[in-house]
Every structure is written in C-alpha cells, then in structure tokens.
Symmetry: C2
Subunit: 340 residues, 2 copies
Amino acid sequence: MPVGTLANVKTVTPTQLKDCQAEMVLANTYHLHLQPGEDVVAEAGGLHKFMNWDGPILTDSGGFQVFSLSEIRSISEEGVKFRSPREGNMINLTPEKSIQIQNQLGADVIMAFDECAPYPATYEAVKLAGQRTTRWLERCIKAHDRQDVQALFGIIQGGVYLDLRQQSARELIQFDLPGYAIGGVSVGEPPELIEKIVKAITPLLPNNKPRYLMGVGTYKEMAQAVASGIDLFDCVIPTRLARHSVALVKGDRWNLKNQKFKRDYEKLDQDCPCYACQNFSRAYLSHLVRSQEILGYTLLSIHNITELIRFTQQMRQAIIENRFVEQFGHYLTSENFTSK
Amino acid sequence: MPVGTLANVKTVTPTQLKDCQAEMVLANTYHLHLQPGEDVVAEAGGLHKFMNWDGPILTDSGGFQVFSLSEIRSISEEGVKFRSPREGNMINLTPEKSIQIQNQLGADVIMAFDECAPYPATYEAVKLAGQRTTRWLERCIKAHDRQDVQALFGIIQGGVYLDLRQQSARELIQFDLPGYAIGGVSVGEPPELIEKIVKAITPLLPNNKPRYLMGVGTYKEMAQAVASGIDLFDCVIPTRLARHSVALVKGDRWNLKNQKFKRDYEKLDQDCPCYACQNFSRAYLSHLVRSQEILGYTLLSIHNITELIRFTQQMRQAIIENRFVEQFGHYLTSENFTSK
C-alpha cells in the first residue's frame, strides 16, 4: 500500500497511482482528524469519494502517530490526551474515538487503537502496553458501528520480546478478526529484529486471514516477511525517497542528483513500464531534481511506487509458481533459508 | 503558451499538459543555460526530446532575465556581463551567444536578444535601448545557424513611449522576420499602458506574421490584446497562481484556502473539462492546499492552464464566427470599443 497520509499519495494523482498498478492505499486517521476533520470527509461521501480512489483503502488507528509524533499530555486506561500540533487544542484519543473517526472516514479496512511502546523499552513496560492493547481491542470491537462494510484488524504488540509478541498474538486471535497486523516495528529497532518478530508470530496466525506488517519496507524486509507469510505492507519509502531525489532501481538506491547522471541519456530503468521510465532520461530526471522542480519528485514517486508494487507482484507470482526461494532467496539469510 | 522555464511546466507532466489542450510551450534560455546547460539539452537530442514535448516550443532570448533578475556587472554594445546566481562565475551574454544557445536548445521559435529597459526609464534611455535592440537583431540574424528549422522572432522595445515603440516596430519589420513580439511590457507599468502600446504597434505589423505579446496575461489583458490583433501570449499566471492556492474560475480568482471552500462539495467548475474539475470537489482541493500538499498545486495548475487555454480558444472561435465584440466586449473599455 502506498501511503496517502492526508487523503492523497504525495505528488501523484489517483490516475497516475492506478497506472503504477497500485490497488490499496493507506490513509492516516490522526492526520485526517486534524485536517480536514472526519466530518468533512464523511460529508463528502467518505474517503473514496473525497480523494477519488475507487480501490480499497485502509486507515490506521492513530495510535502510532499519537505515541510517536505528539506532545503527549497523559496516557491512561481511558486513552491518550495530546495537544494538536495544528490548532493547539487538547485532543482525547480513545479506542472508541479512533473507531468512530474511522467509521466516519469510511475506509474498507480500519485498525484497532493500540498502545505502541517506544524502542527501547523495558520488558515490563512493553508487557503492560501489550495487555492494554488487548483490552483496547475489546473496546474497539464494541465501538465499531459498521462491521458489515469495514473490516477491523487487530494490531499485535510486544516490542522486541518474542514471548510478549506471541502472547499478544494468542490474545488477539481469540477475537476472530478479519485480519491481523504486526505493529510497533520500524520504530528504531535493528532491522534484523523485525524478521525475528515476524517469524515468531506468523505461525500463530490463521492461514485464511490477511497478515499485515505495518510500516515496512525495503526490498529485503518485504522479501523476508513474505517468506514468513506476510501479505500486506505499507511504507512511505517510495514517495519519501522520491522527494529526496532517490530512485529505486533493481534493488539499489540511486540519487539522481549525483553528477554521473547529468549526461546519462538512458531511460531510468529500461525494464520498467512506468510513465517516468518510458518517457524520460536519467539526465532529464537529474536536471529536474537538481532544479528542485516538483515534477522530478512526481516522476520519481511514480517510478518508485511502480517498482515496489512490481516487486510484490513478482513475489506473488513466484509463490504461485513455487519458485519463491529460487528467485528471492538472495534476500534471505541462510538462517531464514533453513527455517523456511 | 504555458511557461516551462526549466524545460518543464511546473508541477505537471507533458501528458497532463496535453490534456489541458496546451499546444505550444515556452522555455527560458537564461535558466537552461545555467542548468543543465545547452550542451546537455543538445546531447539529449534537443528540448523536445529532453522534456518529452512533441508540440511546438519557443525559447526566449535571456534578455528579459538578464536585465531583470541578474546582478549585472556591465552592459555594453557587445552584450551583458553578469554573475551566475547558481555558480557565481561571470557570464557574458551577447546576441551571438544567445542565438548559439537557442540553436543548441532547438526550439521551433527562438527570440532575438534585446535590451529591455526598466520601468520607469527616461525617454533618452529607452530610445538608446531600442536602437541597440535593432543593432543586436542584425547580429542575431547573422549568428542564426538554423534558419531552416528555427524561426527567429524580433522583439519590439520602446518602453511606454509610443513613438519609440512605433520606431522600433518600423525598424524591425525591415528584416522581414517570421514573427514579431512586443517585449518590455509587464515590467511594472500600469496595465492600461500595455493596451496603449499594443494598439500603437499592431497596425504597423504585417498581417500574415504571428504577433506575440510577451509576459501577458490576465483574461482582460489577453482579450484587449486580441482585439488589437495579438496572436500569441506566454504567462506564468496559471501555474504561479496555482502554487499560491488560487484557481481561475470564470474570470475570477478563488483562493482555495478560504474558509468558505472547506465544506463546499461542488466540483471546482462544473463547466470545465479538466481533470481537476471532473474528479475533485472544492472541499478536497481546499484540504490539499491547506495541507500544503503538492497534489493541490498540480491539480490547480491543470485547471488554470486549461481555463486560460479554453479562454483563448473561445476568443479564436468568436473571431471566426464574427462575434468577438459581442462575447468579449465586456473586457474592452469603451475607448477600445470605438477605436476597434
């Protein structure tokens, strides 16, 4: 899922996003609550109509943003109080409030409001956050008014402590939800820990429900996670890198500002079907980003989104044709390899 | 002509620009000389290929920018010396150099290198600049290596002094050029003077050559100029206003940041065929520009370009059907009206 925080994937139109073969996009409850407000989105007919995206949409719960971005004033069993960075007023985000906002936004998949422990955090702190996340999930389920049209996914917490992760997973699957997510990763822990967490949890999750690894990732992180059974990702990498002049090309990162691209008249990636690669040279893209022209960021976003979606399509096809390890084995460490 | 200073019309792709029904675009010699350099554009196969625009392109000569943007070190009969705002090195722009750069850039129409007097300036200073512009035109013609594929337009100077304007026009038409431009307007003079200048010059220009009013303009300025026989315009208004959250709608300027658009779920302009108007509400566009999302500027650019091109198309059709005054008379003062 490309990330469309404020009801748009930064610098690209919905038509361009379709051309990237994007299907599902993510939007952020926290940001949309602050601007334009869920009531505006609801009055517009919901997120799909508001942002003109007829594919599936997922909204996160705001938990991650509240715990990582906000000036938090208090965390209690009730919820989280924080000061709006936009208007300065106090906002009280609770499981019920998060679900109510998400019901108004109207995404196809909504996420439970969780307590996301920071990294690093003590075993005891992470344990308490995980237990609270389970209690909050119960409240989310009760508050969820539109179960017939919006699927509520639970979020597994537990930090880098594998037994806490497994405990969280076991508690959540009791609720027989339509999908499960692994949250609280990509919060600063070493990347190799993500793989360990994923491998500890996925065997416990039902095979017939989507498994979503939140905030991931890179080629390697995604390949490793898919090897362990993950189905769904979201990540700002393709669009954020683009805005930093970086193209994802065949597994590498190229900074188009680099002098070597100034007179490179080849297409960005001859094998890529995207609009940027089909129509423009590396020299032109380099010129645009050197000139800080917005069009450069748009074209690189189109390419990077296309590139990562193609990567996931190729993984899916390799699984169907039973050659995943053959094609993507180089992304897996020897440890994964044997355990797979 | 939408303005594509650095070989791109800011925030829009060539495909989007085609959808706006844009035909000819302008690019700036001064800016492209500084970045990426005309040699890079030439090596890429020329501007059309570099920026992926198969419609006609016009490059200005750099004169206007050198006189208005640069830290000028000296102006002489030879040319203009200035310090590059990018690299800090001294650059010597002469009529020969400007044409050589434009020959390398490879636009369909190139412009003579002129001395653009500031506003205000004394009669004597403007007279000297106009005479020098004529001498420089002779050197431009001699330096022009690609007369078979690039049309060189002369630029009429003379400031706000109508007799100097007419003298400049009379001198230039002696060269039997493929087109003539009126330069040195939109440099700070009162807008009503532009119309006076245009009306003083156009009767002197050949009927069978394009007449180009540089750096204009607004609905009213364009309608008045067309009434006097102008064929071609360039202006940053549609894209610059877009980046300031302003939409051109039916002759008005709407700032989408305005509170009244926050819950306005109508299309921007129901009668406009552009991508922005067909697919998004005013509330959504307002949300994007309030959030400073680049997509908002892209969508408003698409709309504003479409709007002004439709305006010129409507003027053309009205002329063909002999009802220009009937349809556009309200843009003309009563003074124009009788003199027309």
